[in-house]
């Protein structure tokens, strides 16, 4: 956020296209650590592990009976959690390629799943408007707690050391603060599709279905910035921070990847951005370390890896 850093140009050169999925790809996530691998899940009920550098598919995880809607990788990359239309949450062992835990209890499809920092608790948000917190350490399969404050489907979750942030279609972003024992619900007014806090936890990036990406101050709930220009009205798109949180990146429903400067909220060049996917971009994720890499997944069935031209 330091303006002195300036905003680097977004990696816009297509490096690889990962196109083994049949049907829309709903989610693509980087692995943790150095993030050399990418996991993607799609409508074809499979989760695929890719090497984005080489563009090769390494492994295919198949157990879901319906589409895969969300993936969350654990801190040590040994396991990941996934959820989907089959109303269950699976925890996978990466090497064995089998599910180690199947958590059932949601009444609707599970839109989002998130592991906490040391993968002891799994949070899952569902169409049934609940967030369930599962204990991954104890053998018990019942949720630790069910957060039922949301009035509509929970679309996005973020779990960090002390808070759980849930964004719902009812237009609220609810921040459950474990340490304070406090629930802060911020009314955005529009269905929330993604809510990502910055790494220092002071700001929150929320994308809503009114073609807005907003940056909020977490402590006061005040709007810091609004990023507009893209088209985001009906699908779940994800806005994320660019490298070192200097930019905001969001793929829109027209298949274009938009980038804004975080501070002055101007659209980075090119404006308007070119259409790079045939259909809606369902997930945008910037590489956690590498400043010049980014992945996008789209309903056109492809995952694209973007890099700076080398």
């Amino acid at each position: 956020m330091a303006p002195s850093r300036g905003s680097q140009a977004l990696a816009r050169t297509l490096h690889k296209t990962l196109s083994n999925h049949r049907g829309p790809v709903h989610v693509v996530r980087y692995a943790k650590g150095t993030a050399k691998y990418v996991l993607s899940g799609g409508q074809d009920r499979s989760i695929r592990l890719w090497n984005p550098d080489l563009g090769t598919e390494i492994k295919k995880f198949e157990a879901h009976g319906y589409e895969v809607l969300s993936i969350s990788v654990s801190h040590d990359n040994t396991k990941f959690a996934s959820s989907g239309g089959d109303r269950s949450v699976f925890v996978w062992d990466v090497t064995a390629g089998v599910t180690t835990r199947r958590l059932a209890g949601h009444m609707g499809k599970v839109n989002v799943v998130e592991l906490n920092a040391d993968a002891t608790v799994l949070a899952s948000g569902s169409y049934d408007s609940t967030v369930r917190l599962w204990d991954l350490r104890a053998p018990a399969r019942a949720p630790i707690q069910v957060l039922e404050e949301a009035r509509d489907a929970v679309q996005t979750l973020h779990v960090d050391a002390t808070t759980i942030i849930a964004g719902s279609v009812d237009g609220h972003v609810r921040t459950y603060d474990l340490r304070k024992g406090e629930l802060r619900s911020d009314f955005i007014g529009q269905p929330v599709t993604s809510a990502i806090p910055s790494s220092d936890g002071t700001t929150l990036l929320v994308s809503t279905l009114d073609s807005h990406v907003r940056l909020f101050d977490t402590t006061s709930g005040k709007l810091l910035n609004a990023f507009t220009g893209h088209n985001h009205t009906s699908y779940r798109c994800r806005a994320c921070f660019g490298h070192e949180e200097a930019t905001v990146v969001c793929g829109d429903e027209d298949g274009a990847v938009w980038a804004w400067d975080l501070v002055d909220a101007t659209v980075l060049q090119p404006n308007p951005p070119p259409k790079v996917h045939d259909k809606v971009i369902t997930w945008t994720e910037h590489h956690p370390i590498d400043p010049g890499e980014m992945v996008t997944s789209s309903a056109d069935g492809t995952v694209k890896v973007w890099r700076h031209p080398s």
């Binding site: 050399k36 990359n77 990466v94 906490n116 920092a117 707690q145 050391a161 474990l178």
Partner: protein, 891 residues
């Protein structure tokens, strides 16, 4: 002494005492040796200690102490020495035959003794006489012999000689012993007179051949003929004789006529061909003829006179001779129907003719008569009116379903029939209340439920139909009903009449005319209509008072589609539409009003205080524990929807959250431990705890340490020799102070602000010696630390022993000192774990996960940091060597 004298004496007698003969010994002293060859003498004396109890097969079976001896359980009850052998499953597929032939019989579970016992029992049954209970006495056999006409005498004789003589039943034998003879009846002896009567003769009729002497004796009673019920094994109807030939069916069968000519005579001497058959000569035991007829053991027609001991009347003739004056009937032979058919056996033809049906002449219909059903209906109506007056809802009138279902009660029916009511028990509690109280209660009820008491009372309407306006609605009820639900909206005219009615009743003095009787309406219909109005006025008035606020009337009444007759007139529509519009408009307004501040602020982009709602939220205790966060102290306990945590009372974890430790390089958040705030609170529960609220929590929430702790302590580490450096590390790390040390003891409160946990490691790690370390996934640092704490507690309690442990662990390292022992690193187990992992090879891979690189490593250039997934995914086959290689990669 005596022997010396004996010797002397013998010597005197001249017998050589030394000779063999003289020395012959005849007495035995002591027990004789057993004979060399075993004697078969079972009666041989055996010393007690040698006695053995053996069964007939020579097996030892001592059943001492109520047959529960040493071998009872084996020899007697179960099949093997070991006990019951469960029957093994035998597939019926392989050998079906054996399985089929092996149903479990009781004999399978018997031993020899049981079997012999059973056999003995069977023999006992066999030796019993075979009792033929179904009349195979000699008497009957002989009778059977009579019946078998086709067999000639020689055959019968042969049969009787060859076949074993049938035995009499036990009863027959007993009777015989008591003096009964075959052919006599059973019972006390009777006089001659009784006997005569029994045989159907008139004793008073003097006959010349009556022996005077005979009257002096007692006679055996008449035999009761046995009812032989023939088995019916054909499908003919009852009484049908299949053998009836053509002639027999015509009633002129030669055999029948022959038989009916006279009673059958007993075969015997002294009856010539010309002799008339006397009654005495009748064959008493002739059953062949009786078969066809019915014979009752106790004839219903018997007159139980004192003299008539007669048990059965065999023939019609005999009965006719009875004392009672029975009408003389023609004998059975003559009784035939008009068509010549004989009646069925056992039936007689009635002498009385069947009464003819009375036939009435058809009434004369007047010539000018025309059918007029209306008149009938009117009559019926008049009847029903009468009934109505008797407070019965007439069935002809329209009844509600409930009424119809209920039907007429017994009381109503009785009243209708004009019965005097039965004195019945008082029904209600009012019967027991004094008149005054009843009055009072009625008044109270009337004032409270005024409409109910006036118009819901069913009595006024139907019972008093004549003045139709008798139904009365209270003004206030009518007033309320005017504003309430309008039940007759589908019928505009009715609705108009209804409102008129209500208006009239709402302000009685205002001169509003109540709806009058319509010209086409009958008085009853009008009364009913008015009654309906009164009822609906009582029913559909809005709820008054406090209850009214609790209900809102539904916006849309479910009245179904409103059908408008005739062509579509657009004039009717706007009303409806306007109504709906109103409804539609009202709703959003309300919502807007409700959400206004928030939504409005959101719409204007004024996010902040307006859009934020903060409330307390109680995270589950286990959740806090998993997140490594102290459970928040909420003043107002909020119900947690989650299940109660299986681990009760999260232990006071005072270290920094491990989450931060693993959160990577971004961990700029130092977590303030909220422990100090807890101690500020003072209440009774805290007294005596000193500064530390959590005092003793560790004891209360003691958890059995995980298996890996025990393994870490007790598992042998023989393979440590592969890397001596590891050993040194081992010793060092054991002795190093814990980086994230818990407070030294439970009594000491933890430091308020924790240094970042990774600091200790950062200090230790230099890149030259850095190696990836592993921690068990099952026990995350939080756990290990906790366990470490416990271990330390144990150690502090018994320090001496622990020193020896450590000496053992470290292979007798003599350099160990007590001072060093205090310094322990929480990583102390890890090298060992890692080695164990190396030992286990790939199999243990899933048990141990790579510990993320310490912060210093993460701060390094990217290519230096670990990528575990790389090793995990691409190198599935060989886990451990790759890990080693990875470590080398860092150099």
């Amino acid at each position: 002494m005596s022997t010396a004298r004996l010797k002397r004496k013998l010597g005197d007698l001249g017998i050589d005492t030394s000779s063999r003969k003289a020395n012959e010994n005849f007495c035995l002293i002591g027990t004789p040796l057993p004979p060399l060859e075993k004697s078969k003498d079972t009666g041989e004396f055996v010393p007690l200690w040698k006695q053995e109890v053996r069964d007939e097969k020579g097996r030892r079976r001592l059943h001492g102490a109520f047959t529960g001896g040493f071998s009872a359980g084996y020899f007697n009850t179960v099949g093997s020495k070991e006990g019951w052998t469960p029957s093994t499953f035998i597939s019926s597929r392989s050998d079906r035959a054996t399985n089929k032939n092996r149903p479990s019989r009781p004999e399978d579970f018997m031993d020899e003794e049981d079997l012999t016992g059973m056999r003995d029992d069977q023999k006992l049954v066999d030796e019993h006489e075979q009792m033929d209970l179904l009349g195979s006495t000699q008497d009957e056999i002989s009778k059977r012999g009579v019946g078998t006409d086709d067999k000639d005498a020689i055959t019968l004789a042969l049969e009787q000689s060859l076949l074993p003589a049938p035995k009499d039943s036990v009863g027959a034998r007993i009777l015989k012993k008591m003096g009964w003879r075959i052919g006599q009846g059973v019972g006390p002896r009777i006089t001659w007179r009784q006997r005569e009567i029994a045989f159907g003769r008139n004793p008073d009729v003097p006959s010349d051949d009556i022996d005077e002497e005979a009257k002096k004796h007692l006679y055996a009673p008449r035999d009761t003929p046995l009812i032989i019920v023939e088995r019916k094994d054909n499908f003919h109807g009852l009484g049908y004789d299949p053998g009836l030939g053509l002639h027999a069916s015509l009633g002129v069968a030669p055999e029948a006529s022959k038989q009916s000519s006279g009673p059958r005579l007993a075969g015997g001497f002294g009856l010539g061909a010309l002799n008339d058959a006397d009654d005495d000569d009748l064959d008493v035991y002739d059953h062949s003829q009786i078969h066809g007829r019915n014979h009752h053991a106790y004839d219903a027609n018997d007159v139980h006179n004192e003299e008539h001991v007669l048990m059965s009347a065999r023939s019609q003739g005999a009965r006719d001779l009875g004392k009672t004056a029975q009408p003389q009937r023609p004998s059975t032979g003559k009784l035939v129907f008009r068509d010549g058919k004989p009646p069925l056996n056992g039936f007689i033809i009635s002498e009385k003719p069947v009464a003819e049906d009375l036939c009435f002449p058809i009434p004369d219909v007047p010539k000018d008569w025309t059918p007029n059903p209306k008149r009938v209906w009117e009559m019926e109506k008049a009847n029903s009116k009468d009934k109505e007056n008797a407070s019965i809802p007439p069935p002809s009138q329209t009844q509600s379903h409930a009424q119809w279902k209920k039907g007429i009660s017994a009381n109503q029916r009785g009243a209708a029939l004009g019965e005097t009511p039965l004195p019945s028990a008082p029904r209600s509690i009012f019967e027991y209340i004094s008149k005054k109280d009843q009055e009072r209660i009625k008044n109270i009820a009337a004032s409270r439920f005024a409409p109910t008491s006036t118009s819901d009372d069913p009595s006024p309407g139907p019972s008093l139909p004549m003045p139709p306006t008798i139904t009365h609605t209270e003004p206030h009820v009518a007033q309320a009903a005017l504003h309430g639900f309008q039940p007759f909206t589908t019928d505009p005219t009715k609705q108009a009449r209804y409102t008129a009615y209500l208006r009239a009743h709402a302000n009685p003095g205002s001169g509003v005319i109540p709806p009058a009787q319509k010209p086409e309406q009958s008085a009853e219909e009008f009364a009913k209509e008015i009654n309906d109005y009164a009822k609906s006025a009582a029913l559909f008035r809005p709820v008054s008072g406090a209850m009214a606020g609790r209900f809102t009337s539904a916006a849309v009444l479910d009245l179904g589609p409103k059908i408008i007759e005739g062509l579509h007139t657009p004039a009717a529509q706007p009303e409806e539409g306007a109504d709906n519009m109103d409804v539609a408009e009202e709703k959003p307004k309300e919502e807007v009003k409700e959400e206004a501040p928030k939504v409005h602020a959101a719409r204007l982009g004024m996010y902040g205080v307006m859009t934020r709602e903060v409330c307390t939220w109680q995270p589950a205790r286990l959740l806090c524990k998993r997140f490594g966060v102290k459970e928040p102290d909420l003043d107002v306990p909020v119900d947690t929807s989650g299940p109660s945590a299986p681990e009760t009372a999260a232990p006071e974890f005072t270290g920094a959250a491990p989450a931060d430790e693993f959160a990577g390089a971004s961990a700029g958040v130092t977590q303030v431990e909220g422990r100090g705030s807890g101690s500020s609170k003072r209440d009774v529960a805290n007294i005596g705890m000193g500064e530390d609220d959590g005092q003793g929590d560790d004891v209360l929430t003691y958890e059995r340490p995980g298996m890996d702790i025990f393994k870490a302590i007790f598992a042998s580490d023989d393979e440590e020799s592969d890397e001596e450096k590891d050993r040194i590390d081992d010793v060092d790390e054991v002795d190093e102070p814990p980086a994230v040390s818990a407070p030294a003891g439970p009594s000491k409160p933890g430091p308020d602000v924790k240094p970042p946990p990774s600091n200790g490691i950062v200090e230790d790690v230099d890149l030259a010696t850095f190696k990836p370390t592993f921690i068990p996934r099952g026990s995350k640092p939080k756990d290990t630390e906790k366990k470490e704490k416990k271990k330390k507690k144990q150690k502090s309690s018994k320090g001496g022993i622990l020193v020896s442990f450590d000496v053992e662990e470290d292979g007798g390292d003599s350099s160990l000192t007590a001072a060093r022992q205090k310094h322990r690193d929480r990583d102390s187990e890890r090298p060992r774990k890692k080695k164990r992992k190396d030992r286990e090879g790939g199999g243990g891979e899933d048990m141990w996960v790579e510990k993320p690189a310490p912060d210093i490593v993460k701060a390094l250039p990217v290519n230096l940091s670990l990528d575990s997934e790389d090793s995990q995914v691409s190198g599935q086959g060989s886990g451990p060597p790759r890990v080693r290689k990875r470590a080398i990669d860092f150099m």
